[in-house]
Amino acid sequence: MKNIIFDFEYLAPKTLEEALTMLSQYNEEERKVIAGGQSLLILMRQKLITPQYLIDIKGLSDLEYIKFDKKEGLKIGALTIHRAVELSPIIQKEFSVLSEMEQNLSNVETRNWGTIGGDIAHADPCGDPAVVLIALNARLKLNGPSGERTMDAEDFTVDFFETALQPGELLTEIQVPVLPPNTGVKFTKYNQISGDLGLASVAMSITLDKDKKTCSDVRIALGGVAPAPIRAKKAEDILKGKKISDALLAEAGQAASEEASPTTDIQATDEYRRELVKVLVKRVGVEALARAKKA
Protein backbone atom coordinates (compact mmCIF):
# COMPACT_ATOMS: atom_id res chain seq x y z
CA MET A 1 0.00 0.00 0.00
CA LYS A 2 1.16 3.52 -0.67
CA ASN A 3 2.04 5.81 2.20
CA ILE A 4 3.48 9.27 2.31
CA ILE A 5 7.18 8.48 2.10
CA PHE A 6 8.69 11.97 2.31
CA ASP A 7 9.02 14.00 5.49
CA PHE A 8 7.55 17.44 6.02
CA GLU A 9 7.15 19.84 8.85
CA TYR A 10 3.68 19.79 10.32
CA LEU A 11 2.22 23.08 11.47
CA ALA A 12 -1.08 23.38 13.25
CA PRO A 13 -2.17 26.99 13.72
CA LYS A 14 -4.72 27.63 16.41
CA THR A 15 -6.30 30.77 14.95
CA LEU A 16 -6.98 32.17 11.51
CA GLU A 17 -4.44 34.95 12.11
CA GLU A 18 -1.80 32.42 13.01
CA ALA A 19 -2.65 30.44 9.89
CA LEU A 20 -2.38 33.50 7.68
CA THR A 21 0.96 34.39 9.22
CA MET A 22 2.27 30.90 8.54
CA LEU A 23 0.98 31.07 4.99
CA SER A 24 2.92 34.25 4.38
CA GLN A 25 6.08 32.76 5.86
CA TYR A 26 6.50 30.08 3.23
CA ASN A 27 6.28 30.35 -0.50
CA GLU A 28 3.64 28.60 -2.57
CA GLU A 29 5.97 25.84 -3.76
CA GLU A 30 7.12 24.66 -0.38
CA ARG A 31 3.92 24.69 1.64
CA LYS A 32 0.48 23.22 1.34
CA VAL A 33 -2.67 23.76 3.35
CA ILE A 34 -4.56 20.72 4.54
CA ALA A 35 -8.16 20.85 5.71
CA GLY A 36 -9.97 17.49 5.65
CA GLY A 37 -7.31 16.18 3.29
CA GLN A 38 -9.65 13.77 1.55
CA SER A 39 -8.02 14.54 -1.80
CA LEU A 40 -4.70 16.00 -0.70
CA LEU A 41 -3.49 12.96 1.22
CA ILE A 42 -4.05 10.77 -1.82
CA LEU A 43 -1.98 13.11 -3.96
CA MET A 44 0.76 13.12 -1.33
CA ARG A 45 0.73 9.32 -1.20
CA GLN A 46 1.22 9.31 -4.95
CA LYS A 47 4.08 11.82 -4.63
CA LEU A 48 2.17 14.23 -6.88
CA ILE A 49 2.33 16.88 -4.18
CA THR A 50 5.38 16.97 -1.91
CA PRO A 51 5.26 20.00 0.39
CA GLN A 52 8.00 20.75 2.89
CA TYR A 53 5.53 22.41 5.22
CA LEU A 54 2.02 21.20 5.79
CA ILE A 55 -0.27 23.73 7.42
CA ASP A 56 -3.17 21.92 9.03
CA ILE A 57 -6.17 24.21 9.38
CA LYS A 58 -8.68 21.43 10.11
CA GLY A 59 -8.54 22.39 13.79
CA LEU A 60 -9.65 26.01 13.26
CA SER A 61 -13.06 25.58 14.79
CA ASP A 62 -13.74 29.29 14.21
CA LEU A 63 -14.28 28.45 10.58
CA GLU A 64 -16.77 25.72 11.28
CA TYR A 65 -20.26 27.20 11.30
CA ILE A 66 -23.54 27.44 9.46
CA LYS A 67 -25.44 30.73 9.94
CA PHE A 68 -28.61 31.90 8.35
CA ASP A 69 -30.34 35.22 8.39
CA LYS A 70 -33.34 36.26 6.27
CA LYS A 71 -31.48 39.32 4.98
CA GLU A 72 -27.88 38.27 4.77
CA GLY A 73 -28.60 34.76 3.62
CA LEU A 74 -26.53 31.67 4.38
CA LYS A 75 -22.98 31.72 5.64
CA ILE A 76 -20.97 28.53 5.83
CA GLY A 77 -17.54 28.49 7.43
CA ALA A 78 -15.05 26.98 5.02
CA LEU A 79 -14.07 24.25 7.45
CA THR A 80 -17.59 23.00 7.94
CA ILE A 81 -17.64 19.29 7.10
CA HIS A 82 -19.82 18.14 4.22
CA ARG A 83 -21.92 16.08 6.55
CA ALA A 84 -22.86 19.13 8.61
CA VAL A 85 -24.06 20.89 5.46
CA GLU A 86 -26.01 17.78 4.48
CA LEU A 87 -27.75 17.44 7.84
CA SER A 88 -28.25 21.12 8.71
CA PRO A 89 -31.99 21.71 9.28
CA ILE A 90 -31.75 25.31 8.11
CA ILE A 91 -30.03 24.28 4.91
CA GLN A 92 -32.54 21.51 4.35
CA LYS A 93 -35.30 24.11 4.75
CA GLU A 94 -33.89 27.10 2.90
CA PHE A 95 -31.40 25.61 0.43
CA SER A 96 -32.45 22.00 0.10
CA VAL A 97 -30.45 21.68 -3.12
CA LEU A 98 -27.24 22.03 -1.12
CA SER A 99 -28.24 19.25 1.20
CA GLU A 100 -29.30 17.06 -1.73
CA MET A 101 -25.98 17.67 -3.44
CA GLU A 102 -24.15 16.67 -0.27
CA GLN A 103 -26.14 13.46 0.10
CA ASN A 104 -24.58 12.14 -3.08
CA LEU A 105 -21.12 13.59 -2.66
CA SER A 106 -18.71 10.66 -2.47
CA ASN A 107 -19.51 8.56 0.59
CA VAL A 108 -20.45 9.30 4.17
CA GLU A 109 -16.89 8.57 5.36
CA THR A 110 -15.57 11.38 3.15
CA ARG A 111 -18.37 13.71 4.18
CA ASN A 112 -17.67 13.08 7.85
CA TRP A 113 -14.13 14.42 7.58
CA GLY A 114 -13.86 16.42 4.39
CA THR A 115 -14.77 20.13 4.43
CA ILE A 116 -16.83 22.08 1.95
CA GLY A 117 -14.15 24.77 1.72
CA GLY A 118 -11.46 22.17 1.08
CA ASP A 119 -13.57 20.71 -1.69
CA ILE A 120 -13.97 24.07 -3.40
CA ALA A 121 -10.32 25.03 -2.97
CA HIS A 122 -9.20 21.66 -4.39
CA ALA A 123 -10.88 22.85 -7.61
CA ASP A 124 -11.56 19.47 -9.14
CA PRO A 125 -13.70 20.25 -12.23
CA CYS A 126 -15.88 17.31 -11.20
CA GLY A 127 -16.46 18.67 -7.67
CA ASP A 128 -20.13 19.11 -6.86
CA PRO A 129 -20.34 22.04 -4.35
CA ALA A 130 -18.87 24.61 -6.74
CA VAL A 131 -21.46 23.83 -9.41
CA VAL A 132 -24.38 24.22 -7.04
CA LEU A 133 -22.94 27.38 -5.50
CA ILE A 134 -22.57 28.97 -8.92
CA ALA A 135 -26.24 28.29 -9.63
CA LEU A 136 -27.06 29.77 -6.22
CA ASN A 137 -25.11 32.93 -7.10
CA ALA A 138 -22.89 32.40 -4.07
CA ARG A 139 -19.90 34.49 -3.11
CA LEU A 140 -16.73 33.31 -1.44
CA LYS A 141 -14.87 35.15 1.28
CA LEU A 142 -11.07 35.03 1.12
CA ASN A 143 -8.71 36.18 3.84
CA GLY A 144 -5.16 37.10 3.12
CA PRO A 145 -2.23 39.27 4.09
CA SER A 146 -4.00 42.38 2.84
CA GLY A 147 -7.22 41.65 4.62
CA GLU A 148 -10.44 40.20 3.38
CA ARG A 149 -12.20 40.20 0.02
CA THR A 150 -15.13 38.41 -1.57
CA MET A 151 -15.64 37.11 -5.06
CA ASP A 152 -18.29 35.32 -7.08
CA ALA A 153 -18.10 31.55 -6.71
CA GLU A 154 -18.28 31.52 -10.48
CA ASP A 155 -14.88 33.19 -10.80
CA PHE A 156 -13.08 31.15 -8.17
CA THR A 157 -11.96 28.11 -10.16
CA VAL A 158 -9.86 29.15 -13.11
CA ASP A 159 -8.55 25.86 -14.52
CA PHE A 160 -8.05 22.20 -13.64
CA PHE A 161 -7.17 22.26 -9.93
CA GLU A 162 -6.35 25.98 -10.09
CA THR A 163 -8.10 28.78 -8.22
CA ALA A 164 -8.07 32.56 -7.99
CA LEU A 165 -6.54 32.38 -4.51
CA GLN A 166 -3.60 34.76 -4.25
CA PRO A 167 -0.42 33.78 -2.39
CA GLY A 168 -1.14 33.79 1.31
CA GLU A 169 -4.90 33.73 0.90
CA LEU A 170 -7.32 31.27 2.46
CA LEU A 171 -10.91 30.53 1.53
CA THR A 172 -12.79 31.22 4.75
CA GLU A 173 -16.50 31.51 4.09
CA ILE A 174 -19.19 30.62 1.61
CA GLN A 175 -22.00 33.16 1.30
CA VAL A 176 -25.25 32.22 -0.34
CA PRO A 177 -27.79 35.02 -0.86
CA VAL A 178 -31.41 34.46 0.07
CA LEU A 179 -33.28 32.93 -2.85
CA PRO A 180 -35.49 35.41 -4.69
CA PRO A 181 -39.21 34.60 -4.45
CA ASN A 182 -40.53 31.99 -6.90
CA THR A 183 -37.16 30.36 -7.28
CA GLY A 184 -36.50 26.65 -7.73
CA VAL A 185 -33.07 25.07 -7.75
CA LYS A 186 -32.09 21.57 -8.74
CA PHE A 187 -28.79 19.74 -9.12
CA THR A 188 -28.02 16.44 -10.70
CA LYS A 189 -24.97 14.54 -11.81
CA TYR A 190 -24.67 11.40 -13.76
CA ASN A 191 -22.38 8.48 -13.46
CA GLN A 192 -22.99 4.80 -13.92
CA ILE A 193 -21.99 4.06 -10.33
CA SER A 194 -23.88 5.79 -7.51
CA GLY A 195 -21.78 8.09 -5.36
CA ASP A 196 -19.05 8.34 -7.96
CA LEU A 197 -17.67 11.56 -9.42
CA GLY A 198 -20.01 12.82 -12.12
CA LEU A 199 -19.27 12.36 -15.81
CA ALA A 200 -21.25 15.56 -16.09
CA SER A 201 -23.31 17.59 -13.64
CA VAL A 202 -25.84 20.37 -13.95
CA ALA A 203 -27.27 22.82 -11.43
CA MET A 204 -30.04 25.16 -12.41
CA SER A 205 -31.80 27.92 -10.59
CA ILE A 206 -35.01 29.22 -12.15
CA THR A 207 -36.79 32.34 -10.91
CA LEU A 208 -40.29 32.98 -12.16
CA ASP A 209 -41.99 36.32 -12.18
CA LYS A 210 -44.97 37.12 -9.98
CA ASP A 211 -47.54 35.28 -12.08
CA LYS A 212 -45.24 32.21 -11.99
CA LYS A 213 -45.35 31.90 -15.73
CA THR A 214 -42.39 33.69 -17.23
CA CYS A 215 -38.81 32.99 -16.32
CA SER A 216 -37.40 36.20 -14.98
CA ASP A 217 -33.97 34.86 -14.13
CA VAL A 218 -32.07 31.64 -14.57
CA ARG A 219 -28.60 30.39 -13.75
CA ILE A 220 -27.24 27.19 -15.23
CA ALA A 221 -23.95 25.76 -14.03
CA LEU A 222 -22.18 22.77 -15.54
CA GLY A 223 -19.61 20.53 -13.87
CA GLY A 224 -17.16 17.99 -15.24
CA VAL A 225 -17.40 19.23 -18.81
CA ALA A 226 -14.78 21.98 -18.84
CA PRO A 227 -11.48 22.72 -17.06
CA ALA A 228 -13.57 24.44 -14.38
CA PRO A 229 -17.26 24.58 -13.53
CA ILE A 230 -18.88 26.96 -16.01
CA ARG A 231 -22.08 28.89 -16.52
CA ALA A 232 -24.05 28.03 -19.64
CA LYS A 233 -24.98 31.60 -20.48
CA LYS A 234 -26.34 30.98 -23.96
CA ALA A 235 -28.63 28.35 -22.54
CA GLU A 236 -29.71 30.83 -19.86
CA ASP A 237 -30.49 33.41 -22.56
CA ILE A 238 -32.79 30.94 -24.29
CA LEU A 239 -34.89 30.58 -21.16
CA LYS A 240 -34.74 34.11 -19.78
CA GLY A 241 -37.92 36.10 -20.25
CA LYS A 242 -39.76 33.16 -21.73
CA LYS A 243 -42.44 30.78 -20.63
CA ILE A 244 -40.47 27.60 -20.05
CA SER A 245 -41.68 24.55 -21.94
CA ASP A 246 -40.17 21.12 -22.49
CA ALA A 247 -39.24 22.17 -26.00
CA LEU A 248 -37.51 25.30 -24.75
CA LEU A 249 -35.61 23.30 -22.15
CA ALA A 250 -34.49 20.91 -24.86
CA GLU A 251 -33.25 23.90 -26.83
CA ALA A 252 -31.41 25.18 -23.76
CA GLY A 253 -29.91 21.73 -23.29
CA GLN A 254 -28.63 21.80 -26.85
CA ALA A 255 -27.11 25.24 -26.30
CA ALA A 256 -25.51 24.20 -23.02
CA SER A 257 -23.99 21.12 -24.63
CA GLU A 258 -22.37 23.40 -27.18
CA GLU A 259 -21.04 25.69 -24.47
CA ALA A 260 -19.40 22.79 -22.70
CA SER A 261 -15.86 21.86 -23.69
CA PRO A 262 -15.50 18.34 -22.34
CA THR A 263 -12.55 16.08 -22.97
CA THR A 264 -12.39 12.41 -23.86
CA ASP A 265 -10.94 10.08 -21.26
CA ILE A 266 -11.26 6.40 -20.40
CA GLN A 267 -14.64 6.95 -18.76
CA ALA A 268 -16.41 8.68 -21.66
CA THR A 269 -15.91 10.59 -24.89
CA ASP A 270 -16.45 14.33 -25.21
CA GLU A 271 -19.38 13.56 -27.51
CA TYR A 272 -21.15 11.51 -24.86
CA ARG A 273 -20.48 14.10 -22.17
CA ARG A 274 -22.09 16.74 -24.37
CA GLU A 275 -25.05 14.45 -24.82
CA LEU A 276 -25.29 14.12 -21.04
CA VAL A 277 -25.31 17.90 -20.67
CA LYS A 278 -28.08 18.10 -23.23
CA VAL A 279 -30.26 15.57 -21.45
CA LEU A 280 -29.44 16.63 -17.88
CA VAL A 281 -30.16 20.32 -18.53
CA LYS A 282 -33.57 19.33 -19.83
CA ARG A 283 -34.29 17.07 -16.85
CA VAL A 284 -32.94 19.44 -14.23
CA GLY A 285 -34.90 22.27 -15.85
CA VAL A 286 -38.17 20.39 -15.49
CA GLU A 287 -37.56 19.89 -11.79
CA ALA A 288 -36.23 23.36 -11.07
CA LEU A 289 -39.30 24.76 -12.80
CA ALA A 290 -41.64 22.61 -10.74
CA ARG A 291 -39.87 23.78 -7.60
CA ALA A 292 -40.09 27.41 -8.65
CA LYS A 293 -43.81 27.01 -9.15
CA LYS A 294 -44.17 25.48 -5.69
CA ALA A 295 -41.90 28.04 -4.01
Binding site: I42, E109, W113, G195
Partner: protein, 164 residues
Protein backbone atom coordinates in the same frame (compact mmCIF):
# COMPACT_ATOMS: atom_id res chain seq x y z
CA UNK B 1 10.64 15.78 13.34
CA UNK B 2 8.33 13.74 15.50
CA UNK B 3 5.24 15.29 16.97
CA UNK B 4 3.17 14.35 19.94
CA UNK B 5 -0.13 12.56 19.42
CA UNK B 6 -2.47 12.22 22.36
CA UNK B 7 -5.69 10.42 21.66
CA UNK B 8 -7.97 7.71 22.91
CA UNK B 9 -8.27 4.45 21.07
CA UNK B 10 -10.87 1.92 22.13
CA UNK B 11 -11.15 3.68 25.48
CA UNK B 12 -7.40 3.57 26.13
CA UNK B 13 -5.35 6.77 26.33
CA UNK B 14 -2.26 6.94 24.11
CA UNK B 15 0.47 9.51 24.27
CA UNK B 16 2.99 8.82 21.55
CA UNK B 17 5.47 10.67 19.34
CA UNK B 18 5.16 10.05 15.63
CA UNK B 19 6.40 11.21 12.24
CA UNK B 20 3.87 13.75 10.89
CA UNK B 21 3.66 11.90 7.57
CA UNK B 22 1.94 8.90 9.13
CA UNK B 23 -1.67 8.25 8.28
CA UNK B 24 -4.03 7.29 11.05
CA UNK B 25 -4.28 3.77 9.64
CA UNK B 26 -0.51 3.36 9.86
CA UNK B 27 -0.45 4.38 13.49
CA UNK B 28 -3.32 2.06 14.34
CA UNK B 29 -1.85 -0.92 12.50
CA UNK B 30 1.89 -0.45 12.81
CA UNK B 31 2.38 1.45 16.08
CA UNK B 32 -0.59 0.22 18.11
CA UNK B 33 -0.66 -3.21 16.37
CA UNK B 34 -4.42 -3.00 15.92
CA UNK B 35 -4.35 -4.95 12.66
CA UNK B 36 -8.07 -5.57 12.57
CA UNK B 37 -8.34 -2.36 10.55
CA UNK B 38 -7.35 -3.30 7.02
CA UNK B 39 -6.36 -1.35 3.93
CA UNK B 40 -7.68 -1.92 0.44
CA UNK B 41 -6.67 0.95 -1.81
CA UNK B 42 -4.37 3.90 -2.35
CA UNK B 43 -7.05 6.28 -3.50
CA UNK B 44 -9.46 6.63 -0.58
CA UNK B 45 -12.12 4.83 -2.55
CA UNK B 46 -12.78 1.49 -0.86
CA UNK B 47 -13.62 2.34 2.79
CA UNK B 48 -11.99 -0.92 3.94
CA UNK B 49 -10.04 1.07 6.58
CA UNK B 50 -13.10 2.76 8.14
CA UNK B 51 -12.97 3.45 11.87
CA UNK B 52 -15.05 5.69 14.09
CA UNK B 53 -13.69 9.07 15.14
CA UNK B 54 -15.81 10.72 17.80
CA UNK B 55 -18.59 8.34 16.81
CA UNK B 56 -18.48 9.06 13.07
CA UNK B 57 -17.38 6.71 10.32
CA UNK B 58 -14.15 7.99 8.79
CA UNK B 59 -11.53 6.43 6.49
CA UNK B 60 -8.38 6.02 8.53
CA UNK B 61 -6.24 6.13 5.36
CA UNK B 62 -7.54 9.61 4.59
CA UNK B 63 -6.75 11.18 7.93
CA UNK B 64 -3.32 12.30 8.99
CA UNK B 65 -2.68 10.64 12.33
CA UNK B 66 -1.89 13.98 13.94
CA UNK B 67 -5.34 15.19 12.94
CA UNK B 68 -6.76 12.65 15.36
CA UNK B 69 -5.05 14.46 18.21
CA UNK B 70 -7.48 14.84 21.10
CA UNK B 71 -10.07 12.63 19.43
CA UNK B 72 -11.67 9.37 20.42
CA UNK B 73 -11.05 6.58 17.95
CA UNK B 74 -12.94 3.30 17.95
CA UNK B 75 -11.65 0.36 15.90
CA UNK B 76 -13.00 -3.13 15.36
CA UNK B 77 -10.96 -4.33 18.35
CA UNK B 78 -13.02 -2.05 20.59
CA UNK B 79 -16.41 -3.36 19.52
CA UNK B 80 -16.78 -6.50 21.60
CA UNK B 81 -17.61 -6.31 25.27
CA UNK B 82 -14.94 -8.56 26.73
CA UNK B 83 -15.52 -12.03 25.32
CA UNK B 84 -19.00 -11.05 24.13
CA UNK B 85 -19.37 -9.92 20.54
CA UNK B 86 -21.20 -6.65 19.84
CA UNK B 87 -24.72 -7.16 18.42
CA UNK B 88 -23.54 -5.82 15.04
CA UNK B 89 -20.78 -8.42 15.01
CA UNK B 90 -23.21 -11.16 16.01
CA UNK B 91 -25.59 -10.14 13.26
CA UNK B 92 -22.76 -10.24 10.69
CA UNK B 93 -21.90 -13.80 11.70
CA UNK B 94 -25.49 -15.01 11.79
CA UNK B 95 -26.31 -13.51 8.39
CA UNK B 96 -23.16 -14.71 6.60
CA UNK B 97 -22.47 -11.04 5.94
CA UNK B 98 -18.82 -11.56 5.00
CA UNK B 99 -16.85 -14.05 3.05
CA UNK B 100 -13.15 -13.31 2.88
CA UNK B 101 -13.67 -10.93 5.79
CA UNK B 102 -11.08 -8.41 4.69
CA UNK B 103 -13.52 -5.51 4.30
CA UNK B 104 -15.60 -6.62 7.27
CA UNK B 105 -13.99 -4.45 9.94
CA UNK B 106 -14.73 -1.35 7.90
CA UNK B 107 -18.25 -2.52 7.15
CA UNK B 108 -18.93 -3.12 10.84
CA UNK B 109 -17.48 0.21 11.95
CA UNK B 110 -19.60 2.05 9.39
CA UNK B 111 -22.65 0.06 10.48
CA UNK B 112 -21.97 0.97 14.08
CA UNK B 113 -21.92 4.68 13.25
CA UNK B 114 -24.97 4.38 11.03
CA UNK B 115 -27.07 2.62 13.67
CA UNK B 116 -26.22 5.29 16.22
CA UNK B 117 -27.58 7.93 13.85
CA UNK B 118 -30.43 5.93 12.45
CA UNK B 119 -31.49 3.08 14.75
CA UNK B 120 -33.97 1.61 12.30
CA UNK B 121 -32.75 2.09 8.74
CA UNK B 122 -34.52 0.83 5.63
CA UNK B 123 -32.75 -1.23 2.95
CA UNK B 124 -32.27 1.94 0.89
CA UNK B 125 -30.93 3.94 3.83
CA UNK B 126 -28.41 1.20 4.56
CA UNK B 127 -27.40 1.13 0.90
CA UNK B 128 -26.91 4.87 0.92
CA UNK B 129 -24.85 4.87 4.10
CA UNK B 130 -22.68 1.91 3.08
CA UNK B 131 -22.16 2.98 -0.50
CA UNK B 132 -18.46 3.66 -0.23
CA UNK B 133 -17.66 0.19 1.02
CA UNK B 134 -16.17 -2.06 -1.57
CA UNK B 135 -16.90 -5.74 -1.05
CA UNK B 136 -15.73 -8.10 -3.77
CA UNK B 137 -17.26 -11.22 -2.21
CA UNK B 138 -20.79 -10.86 -0.95
CA UNK B 139 -22.77 -8.79 -3.42
CA UNK B 140 -23.76 -6.63 -0.41
CA UNK B 141 -27.30 -7.95 0.13
CA UNK B 142 -26.42 -10.17 3.05
CA UNK B 143 -24.50 -7.30 4.64
CA UNK B 144 -27.56 -5.11 4.27
CA UNK B 145 -29.70 -7.75 5.94
CA UNK B 146 -27.20 -8.14 8.76
CA UNK B 147 -27.21 -4.42 9.48
CA UNK B 148 -30.98 -4.33 9.68
CA UNK B 149 -30.91 -7.45 11.83
CA UNK B 150 -28.38 -5.71 14.07
CA UNK B 151 -30.71 -2.72 14.35
CA UNK B 152 -33.37 -5.02 15.79
CA UNK B 153 -30.91 -6.61 18.19
CA UNK B 154 -29.69 -3.23 19.42
CA UNK B 155 -33.23 -2.06 19.99
CA UNK B 156 -34.10 -5.25 21.85
CA UNK B 157 -30.98 -4.78 23.96
CA UNK B 158 -32.00 -1.21 24.72
CA UNK B 159 -35.49 -2.13 25.82
CA UNK B 160 -34.04 -4.95 27.92
CA UNK B 161 -31.74 -2.50 29.63
CA UNK B 162 -34.66 -0.15 30.20
CA UNK B 163 -36.70 -2.95 31.75
CA UNK B 164 -33.84 -3.55 34.19
Amino acid sequence: MKKQLKFIVNGNPYDIWIEPRLLLVQVLRDELRLTGTHRGCDSGTCCVCTVNIDGKAVKSCSVLALQANGKEVLTIEGMANGPKLHPVQEAFVDNWAFQCGFCTSGQIMASNALLKENPNPTREEVQHAMDGHLCRCTGYNMINEAIRDAAGRLQAQKSEEKAK
